[in-house]
């Protein structure tokens, strides 16, 4: 009988989550912030916690011009567009945002999507068609894998951040069909940066185009926040850049810019673009306000990097070995799932919220405590986070180095 039960496929995950939930007062994957106090503080129940896992890298969610832009947009244009970009869902502000992105990235085309997830789904799913080849980094985010599934192309994986393996993988492909390599600028779980310049060179040498997802890196890397491609000097060579508005841009939505004007043809063919409502006026207005800050104000970026270095150094001093160099994301590998849950609970008890990241959402089946730094964190916030890790490490096998 059980094979006829539509819910039986969830038995394993249900048992696993029950075990995780039973280990503490708060369910790690069901955290409710009862009240936001600022970009970096919230109440979980009655407990005040420092938010150290929000991807709010530039700390703009409470920034004055971003908040005013959202309020004015609601006053002027209402709460929602209630329609697709192809029908009634294109307002002058959507077009203005696309023009501003085009100018910022010095691109020939720009498209805005309703979420970051949809940006990759839309771009990858529409660009690659039957007979084409998608070659993606094995550590790619789920939206890249899902974009590949949405396309009718053949998908191949190459070894994480390895230009040599990509080169060999491309050389093994048949001659026929267009080729699109997909990588991320900054990987969300380990916080490691891709060698985008080398990967771009390898892609182009093998007659392939390259798409770089800068979801986590836009706003954080490069002199004007363009991302890792710009920081490595290849912004003008990368064929497509996707990104999200839900992290540094303090909004929700996403984009893809390209040096190829033909890219905009996907407005007529991309299902995640066509068959969904466009971004709300408030979300678009905040993305525009944040872009101005990202492009013209280096202060939030400088603050982010100062706090990122402080956190990285502090954790290392305690004996932890972050999985990447200093950056907006700090991931600490924990020996196993249950120890990671224990560590997560201890941190919450100390007033620090971080992300618990477990397989299969993590590369190499690692269990992680994942932190993201914000420009809005104070030096004292970071000290408190480090202090909390000290408490966690006592008596627990959390330290990975001495």
């Amino acid at each position: 009988m059980s094979q006829n039960n539509i819910f039986s496929k969830f038995d394993d995950v249900s048992q696993r989550i029950e075990r995780i939930d039973s280990m503490g007062e708060t369910r790690p994957f069901g955290v409710v912030f009862d009240r936001l106090l600022s970009q970096t503080r919230a109440l979980v129940g009655n407990r005040e916690v420092i938010l150290a896992g929000t991807n709010n890298y530039l700390g703009l969610t409470y920034e004055d011009t971003c908040m005013s832009a959202a309020k004015s947009a609601v006053d002027e244009h209402g709460t929602a567009t209630t329609g697709s970009r192809l029908a009634n869902g294109t307002y002058a502000e959507h077009v203005a945002l696309e023009d501003e992105l085009k100018e910022h990235f010095n691109a020939s085309s720009a498209m805005v999507f309703t979420t970051g997830y949809q940006s990759n789904l839309a771009a990858i799913g529409a660009l690659a068609g039957k007979g084409d080849h998608l070659i993606i980094d094995t550590d790619s985010h789920a939206c890249i894998y899902d974009g590949c599934r949405l396309s009718d192309a053949e998908t191949h994986v190459f070894r994480h951040n390895s230009p040599e393996n990509l080169d060999r993988r491309l050389k093994r492909l048949p001659e026929t069909g267009a080729r699109l390599v997909v990588v991320e600028g900054l990987y969300s779980m380990f916080g490691d940066v891709a060698p985008v310049a080398e990967l771009t060179e390898v892609a182009h040498n093998n007659n392939a185009m390259i798409l770089v997802d800068e979801a986590h890196s836009v706003g954080c890397y490069g002199d004007r926040g363009h991302g890792v491609s710009a920081a490595q000097g290849v912004l003008d060579q990368v064929d497509f850049i996707t990104g999200t508005f839900s992290k540094s841009f303090a909004s929700i939505g996403g984009f893809c810019v390209s040096r190829h004007p033909q890219f905009e043809m996907i407005r007529l063919t991309s299902r995640p673009y066509l068959f969904t409502a466009s971004g709300s006026p408030a979300n678009v207005a905040v993305a525009r306000a944040a872009l101005k800050i990202i492009a013209n104000d280096g202060k939030p970026r400088a603050a982010l990097w100062a706090r990122a270095r402080q956190l990285h150094a502090g954790l290392r001093q305690l004996g932890f070995e972050p999985l990447s160099d200093p950056g907006p994301i700090v991931a600490i590998e924990i020996a196993d799932e249950l120890t990671a849950v224990q560590g997560w609970n201890t941190l919450l008890d100390q007033g620090v919220y971080v992300n618990l990241a477990l397989p299969p959402a993590t590369p190499q089946s690692k269990s992680l405590l994942r932190l993201s730094v914000s420009a809005a964190h104070s030096e004292e916030d970071i000290d408190q986070i480090i202090e909390a890790f000290k408490m966690v490490s006592t008596g627990k096998a959390l330290r990975t180095a001495s």
Partner: protein, 82 residues
């Protein structure tokens, strides 16, 4: 170089042994994911090693259809012969 399936099986077994902690005596009927306790990420790692060793390529779709060691050996044999 065309190899017979026994040679391929021996090489595949050696590669698989590096990817599993399960004490398995490999046979053609061994289920790669279940018997070797490999999740989807670990399967990618195994397949990438096999691609490098035999200088062949599997698409994600092809990889997902490899269930037993026999299906893997047959697929390698077909790809190295073509």
């Amino acid at each position: 170089m065309v190899q017979n399936t026994d040679e391929i099986f021996a090489q595949v077994s050696e590669i698989m042994r590096k990817h599993t902690q399960a004490a398995v005596n490999f046979s053609e009927d061994t289920h790669i994911a279940a018997d070797l306790a490999l999740d989807s990420v670990a399967m990618f790692e195994l397949i990438m090693d096999i691609e490098e060793h035999f200088d062949i390529g599997f698409s994600v779709e092809e990889g997902s259809q490899l269930d037993t060691v026999k299906s893997l050996v047959t697929a390698i044999s077909n790809k190295t012969a073509s």
